[in-house]
Symmetry: C2
Subunit: 236 residues, 2 copies
DNA sequence: TAGATTGTTAATCGATTAACAATC
DNA sequence: TAGATTGTTAATCGATTAACAATC
């Protein structure tokens, strides 16, 4: 078992060795903080493109992404030199380069396990089905749900997890089960070959090295806000 | 408009002045990274307590929380000295101290705006209604939803937002609307007096200084996983 | 006292930011 | 050429970690 990275708490992820003293051509090893912002830039670029904007400065793009321009330029510098001094960035070109860097140009297969309220919401969520991801199965252990379908996908028995993962080469598993089911489901996903997990259950998952886990935890987000609320009340 | 902190991308939040050179008694100014982990420790302590465990070492608690013990001890040291050398921590006592520090001992009023699939899931989510938070209203602009109710709360017209926020002294607003509605809803929440926002809509919200925004973005989480998937595929 | 474990120090690491030389 | 804006440097800041003295 190794620690997995949690975006909000900063636990480091499985060792990913980078050859030291080897400055490979397209500069491998983008900082994790930068990786986490690339999707934000991508979304901002898509929005600019939809508004018909062909070129933008780092200042404009940074504004749209909610970061400062120095950070944006530093982040983009890890990918390469895709701007033009004195001019700015070509929106479509930069968009393509970032999409390629993230890897959303290739369709990744996703399964969602646990089709309760949250699972339903996730299955319907447009951002999930947008380019780069393909939901291939909705799994649940409750027979009452096997008659349901969300969009054009039926809810299938959890028993079929291994079969589906193998058949579709599933790379990403989304866990939206109750807390008690999360670790067993995670173990099965990993055993079946899934190497990335997005966990919505309020538990710390144990996974072997090489498996990435990201965690979205609603009540933790609320509690962080509560902490700051308390400070405001005292200070003011 | 000022930048607001986004947990995954690390945009700094509204200036929160700390008197310099003034080492106040209970040491104000807990690092943001530590604040984000306190709820994780709290949950781990609750789980230990439920298993009937009365005392634990930093090593054990760290294991349950998914961090290393040095980090845990450093984090706890910002709150005070709540352990006993040679012995460890009293689970109930530490649990109380962390809960008090976060401020979940006082009930904060929460409204959820946008009662689609995700809003439904949030309204039902046990973590939301657990101690420390009180959902006081579910708001939606769609008349078709005004007849619905989730749990014992009815969905009410968005028009009543200001009225509800004022009547219940709402501190936290949860935005689960489509992207296009998020900024206008945010503006109304802020104008009505809400100072903390949890945003599920895929947009960067602009808010005045003093308002905290946290963002949960499902497609961005997936894209971060996709980036690492791509690396694994290349490396292996 | 001997063993265990905290709380803190100091070193290291990574991320942010301002400033500016390079260059369109 | 003059103005604009990138890409990069270097300084700063904050977070992590190992190690260990303090102390139960």
């Amino acid at each position: 078992m190794s620690a997995t990275r949690d975006r909000s708490t900063g636990v480091e992820h499985a060792a990913r060795a980078v050859a030291p003293g080897r400055p490979a051509h397209p500069a491998r090893g983008i900082p994790e903080a930068t990786v986490a912002r690339l999707p934000v830039y991508l979304r901002a670029l898509v929005a600019l493109a939809e508004r018909g904007i062909a070129t933008c400065s780092s200042e404009e793009l940074a504004g749209a992404a909610g970061v400062n321009s120095a950070k944006l330029r530093k982040d983009l510098s890890y990918l390469g030199s895709y701007g033009t001094r004195g001019v700015g960035y070509d929106v479509e070109y930069l968009r393509y380069q970032i999409a390629r860097e993230i890897g959303v140009t290739q369709d990744l297969a996703v399964v969602i396990v646990g089709i309760g309220n949250l699972g339903h919401a996730l299955a319907n969520y447009a951002g999930f089905t947008s380019r780069g991801f393909r939901i291939v199965a909705l799994l649940d252990s409750d027979p009452d749900r096997w008659s349901e379908s969300v969009g054009d996908l039926a809810v299938v028995p959890l028993d079929r997890l291994e079969e589906v993962v193998a058949a579709e080469s599933v790379a990403i598993g989304v866990i939206a089960t109750p807390a008690s089911a999360a670790q067993p489901v995670c173990d099965r996903l990993v055993a079946a070959g899934v190497t990335s997990i997005l966990n919505f259950a309020p538990v710390v998952l144990s996974v072997p090295d090489g498996v990435d886990v990201r965690k979205v935890d609603l009540s933790i987000e609320l509690q962080i806000l509560a902490y700051h609320e308390q400070r405001k009340a005292v200070g003011a």
